[in-house]
């Protein structure tokens, strides 16, 4: 089933209004793939039925589910490797040294999906920085615009297919517990992590400033204007001396002059200088 052109334009507009994500014309396959499960869930014949339903009934809940279905992305543990290498060898040692007096460390995963990125970081902290368990206040915050993603991330429950994607087996058996057909992140991984619904282009709840912001593979979905707005807003939410990590194909170059690029071992970390 292929989504009708008129319906695609409606979905395109809806997703643009709610999330500022641009669905280009070549993404009709994505609409087909992502809305098919929703069609089954609400009991209509196909993808066009979903859109008909939402349009004819002006159903805000269904509209929200359409937006969520199209803004959820595949994710994996320790995704792309190099950012985690940079966190382990550059970012976290520098922050631990600089913040040894205040002993507060805050990390924000700004499009956390089902939580793999933030929990990967929690595992990295347990494995490589056990000293943070003694007298440090560590807050790991994940946000996503999708309510279901926030619920799932908070739950910390993953299928076999999900744990297969990038989770080393020795860490899986150490940091997760089998529950039926799923794996639950253990308390040591979850106790410093919390997940909140937040739309990067909407109103934000009150938040502290963060020492590390993971804004990976988010900006690519926005046009230049929105990209600049979001990036500048996120930078304002960073603590001076903090670090930002973007996706492999993303750069703040020309969008936010405050960030200083620090090329390191196959990736680039962006630093917000203290002064």
């Amino acid at each position: 089933m292929t989504v009708a052109a008129e319906h695609f334009r409606y979905v395109q507009q809806l997703v643009m209004e709610r999330s500022a994500i641009v669905l280009t014309e070549d993404k009709s396959y994505l609409v087909d793939a992502r809305l098919a499960p929703l069609a089954r869930a609400i009991g209509v014949a196909d993808v066009n039925g979903v859109v008909d339903h939402a349009r004819s009934r002006r159903d805000p809940a269904l509209e929200q589910r359409i937006v969520e279905a199209l803004t959820t992305n595949e994710t994996s543990w320790f995704r792309d490797t190099r950012p985690f290498h940079a966190l382990e060898h550059l970012v976290l040692p520098a922050l631990i040294e600089r913040k040894r007096a205040s002993r507060v460390l805050r990390v924000w995963s700004a499009a956390c999906s089902t939580g793999q990125e933030l929990y990967s970081l929690a595992i990295l902290l347990e494995e490589k920085f056990p000293q943070l368990r003694r007298g440090w206040q560590v807050e790991l915050v994940g946000t996503d615009l999708n309510t279901e993603m926030v619920r799932r991330a908070t739950e910390g429950l993953y299928s076999n297919l999900e744990v297969n994607r990038g989770m080393p087996a020795n860490l899986l058996v150490r940091y997760f517990e089998k529950e039926g057909a799923h794996w639950r992140a253990r308390e040591t991984v979850r106790d410093r992590s919390r997940f909140v619904k937040l739309n990067l282009v909407g109103k934000w709840p009150p938040m502290p400033t963060f020492d590390v912001v993971l804004l990976r593979n988010v900006l690519i979905y926005f046009d230049t204007k929105v990209k600049t707005e979001v990036l500048c807003r996120v930078v304002k939410q960073m603590a001076r001396g903090g670090y930002m990590l973007l996706g492999t194909a993303e750069t703040p170059s020309g969008l936010c002059p405050d960030l200083v690029p620090m090329p390191t071992d196959g990736t680039v970390v962006y630093h917000l200088p203290v002064g």
Binding site: F78, R165, L171, V173
Partner: protein, 139 residues
């Protein structure tokens, strides 16, 4: 790079071999159970990595892992269990016996490619594997 694929399902051996070729494995030997795998090694095969199913006739995957770890010349072979056995206790047993990685069936192609990358096996142009993965298994 050379690989040994050990699975009693011909279809699964074929799927695994196809993925291995994608990541640049040049030489692949296939065996339908642990004893065939041992025979293959004794006949001179020298794989860098072995993909090993658990439940197989004659000699199962765990027995094969133990056999691979018992001979000095075979200890360098990286082992990835690829199995429907998804109990945590079974996974712990396999890692303790000397498996480096573990993939639960069914899996998607990318997951196996990631597991191979964790062990340092990847196509020259591919990204590297997970950061903490270099620690491998329990030994």
């Amino acid at each position: 790079m050379k690989a040994l694929v050990v699975d009693d399902s011909r279809a699964m051996r074929s799927i695994l071999s196809r993925i291995l070729r994608k990541v640049g494995v040049e030489e692949i030997n296939e065996a339908a159970d642990g004893s065939q795998a041992v025979a293959c090694l004794e006949a001179g095969a020298s794989p860098d990595v072995a993909l090993v199913d658990w439940n197989m006739p004659v000699m199962n995957g765990l027995e094969l892992v133990n056999a691979l770890r018992s001979r000095k010349e075979w200890r360098r072979i990286a082992i990835v269990m690829v199995t429907t056995e998804s109990d945590q206790s079974q996974m712990v047993r396999a890692l303790a016996a000397g498996a480096h990685e573990y993939l639960i069936k069914p899996f998607d192609e990318g997951s196996l490619i990631q597991k191979l990358a964790m062990l340092g096996f990847q196509a020259p142009s591919a990204a590297t594997g997970p950061a903490l993965a270099a620690q491998g298994g329990s030994h």
